[in-house]
């Protein structure tokens, strides 16, 4: 904790506050913090219990940035909150987990299916999955559940499947209560999900700090991609999961290319409009700020 001593000024180092949820999608953040190479600022990672609370804190300026669902940041932008996505959190790493008795998408018809948040890439993935298999979105009973509750709900047969950030998919698989039906890249190549989002005023007013922060973030992404014992040790400081669950989760994800490509973003945006979740998603130019990641190269 300690959101207090904000602007102590003088020689004190600036503390950058970044929010996260304990999921594999935020791994570059964890690695950056653990490597601790940054010099001109202190990094404080603030863990939140849910996306909702995280975005409240970001929107009201209590944190400088967050690793969060990009769709939530787009929603904030749409509502007039000045935030920018500067990099991805990961590539891939979402899996569709279903119970043992589901063997194809058609079996999901009329069943309950869980997503973490209405405004999430996971929801878009589900939408696309159904569309690709000739089902309508309404054919499935979509429920929003806290990710931590999904494995239990699946195990008890309350839902027939879910798509969510890791490690919650791997939990069901390793408990042998569920199986992977699809990986996200099989549904939608290059889907974009969690991103590093910063408040615009932070990027503009403290350009150098922001740049340094993103530099090490990208570097951390490359480091994390090794997925070796050292990386896993680092992660375990932020997410308490079994080793085999973590191994499984990391298999499905990559961290080496964290650029937000225009075509991917626009596919996401058009899907969101199609699903009726957005009226006018922010334009790529307004929302994605690639200046930092470009310089980081």
């Amino acid at each position: 904790n300690g959101s207090e001593e904000e602007k102590s000024g003088g020689n004190e180092k600036r503390t950058i506050k970044i929010g996260y949820l304990p999921i594999t999608h935020a791994v570059p953040l964890f690695v950056e913090k653990e490597l601790g190479k940054y010099e001109n600022f202190d990094l404080e990672l603030i863990k939140f219990g849910s996306w909702t609370e995280l975005s409240d804190a970001l929107n009201t300026g209590r944190i400088d940035g967050a690793s969060m669902l990009i769709t939530l940041a787009m929603k904030a932008k749409e509502q007039g909150i000045d935030v920018n996505a500067v990099a991805l959190g990961h590539r891939d790493g979402n899996v569709v987990v279903v119970s043992k008795d589901i063997s194809n998408v058609a079996d999901l018809k009329g069943k309950s299916f869980a997503i973490p948040h209405k405004f999430s890439t996971q929801n878009v993935l589900l939408y696309q999955l159904l569309k690709q298999n000739g089902l309508k979105y309404e054919d499935v009973n979509v429920v929003e559940l806290p990710p931590a509750e999904m494995p239990a709900a699946l195990s008890e047969g309350r839902i027939s499947g879910y798509v969510v950030a890791e490690p919650f998919g791997a939990v069901s698989v390793s408990l042998e209560k569920g199986k992977v039906l699809y990986q996200d890249k099989d549904i939608w190549e290059n889907s974009i999900d969690c991103s590093l989002v910063l408040r615009s005023e932070f990027i503009e007013k403290e350009k150098e700090l922001a740049q340094e922060f993103v530099n090490y973030y990208i570097e951390a992404g490359h480091f994390a991609e090794q997925k070796d014992a050292q990386v896993k040790d680092m992660l375990l400081n932020y997410m308490k999961v079994d080793q085999n669950v973590l191994d499984l989760s990391l298999e499905w994800i990559s961290y080496d290319d964290l650029k937000i490509n225009r075509e991917d973003y626009e596919e996401l945006a058009s899907n969101l409009v199609e699903m009726g979740l957005f009226e006018s998603p922010p334009a790529y130019e307004d929302f994605v700020d690639h200046s930092l990641i470009e310089k980081a190269k």
Binding site: W51, N59, I81, L145
Partner: protein, 257 residues
């Protein structure tokens, strides 16, 4: 008489809320908040109108109310029945009391992983949470009322040979009712408060969901509208319990307070 009392209440409420709205508008203007972060009254008013006119409100309100009524009524009935019995068996209560005392301070929300496990998603978890929230206040007030029943009534019952179930029904229940009523009021408040939380656990409807959903969509004007609906509905539910209480009191010949 009641008419007069109500119209006075309405006038007072009118004055009160006018002052509140003026302060609110003042904060919104002077504070210079982004209207997406702190919506001014006018925006919330629009939100309220939209929710009413497009029927969203009615749907969610109905769902919430039906869950509430199911959870609350079953909690009340079970708690009163158990309380009447436990209150008359001090030895048993001695064993159960510590358990209740440890369970009571735990937020129903803390149980949610287990509630999902046992009760799944949809209506039931919300009902279970309301049940838990309403159960303890009623149970505790019933047991303590039963243990304090005026000894004269018990003596009269003994004297006329009234025993066991007849004693509970004819003597204890009416004797403790005024004290249970207090527990009913507390329970209606607590349970309604937890509705919001309950409807966050995998519900796709209800006033709690309305708020969560509005919050997820970053429509704080709708969140505020939802808060207002929850407040008003909670107030009405409390008044309904009050009506029930005075109805029973009239049947059972108590003076209204």
């Amino acid at each position: 008489m009641i008419m007069m009392k109500n119209s006075k209440f309405l006038i007072n409420a009118g004055i009160g809320f006018t002052i509140l709205i003026v302060i609110w508008q003042f904060i919104a203007e002077v504070g210079g908040y982004e209207s997406a972060l702190f919506p001014p009254p006018s925006k919330v008013w629009e939100g309220i109108l939209t929710l009413i006119s497009d029927g969203t409100l009615l749907t969610h309100l109905q769902v919430s109310l039906s869950r509430f009524i199911t959870g609350y009524l079953s909690a009340v009935i079970v708690a009163i029945a158990l309380g009447l019995i436990l209150g008359r068996i001090p030895l048993l209560w001695g064993v159960i009391d510590p358990i209740v005392q440890v369970l009571r301070p735990v937020s129903p929300i803390a149980w949610s992983p287990f509630i999902v496990l046992w009760f799944g998603i949809g209506d039931i978890p919300a009902i279970v949470i309301i049940f838990i929230a309403a159960f303890f206040p009623v149970l505790l007030s019933t047991v303590s009322a039963v243990r304090k029943v005026e000894n004269t009534y018990i003596k009269v019952a003994q004297n006329f040979g009234i025993k066991k179930l007849e004693l509970l029904r004819k003597i204890i229940l009416p004797a403790v009712f005024p004290y249970i009523a207090n527990g009913l009021h507390i329970a209606v408040g607590t349970a309604w408060i937890f509705l919001v939380s309950g409807e966050m656990v995998g519900s796709q409807s209800g006033l709690g969901y309305l708020i969560v959903d509005a919050r997820n969509s970053m429509r704080l004007d709708l969140v505020m509208a939802g808060i207002i609906f929850i407040g008003i509905a909670g107030l009405i539910l409390d008044k309904l319990v009050g009506l029930f209480e005075s109805w029973i009191n009239r049947i059972w010949g108590r003076q209204s307070a």
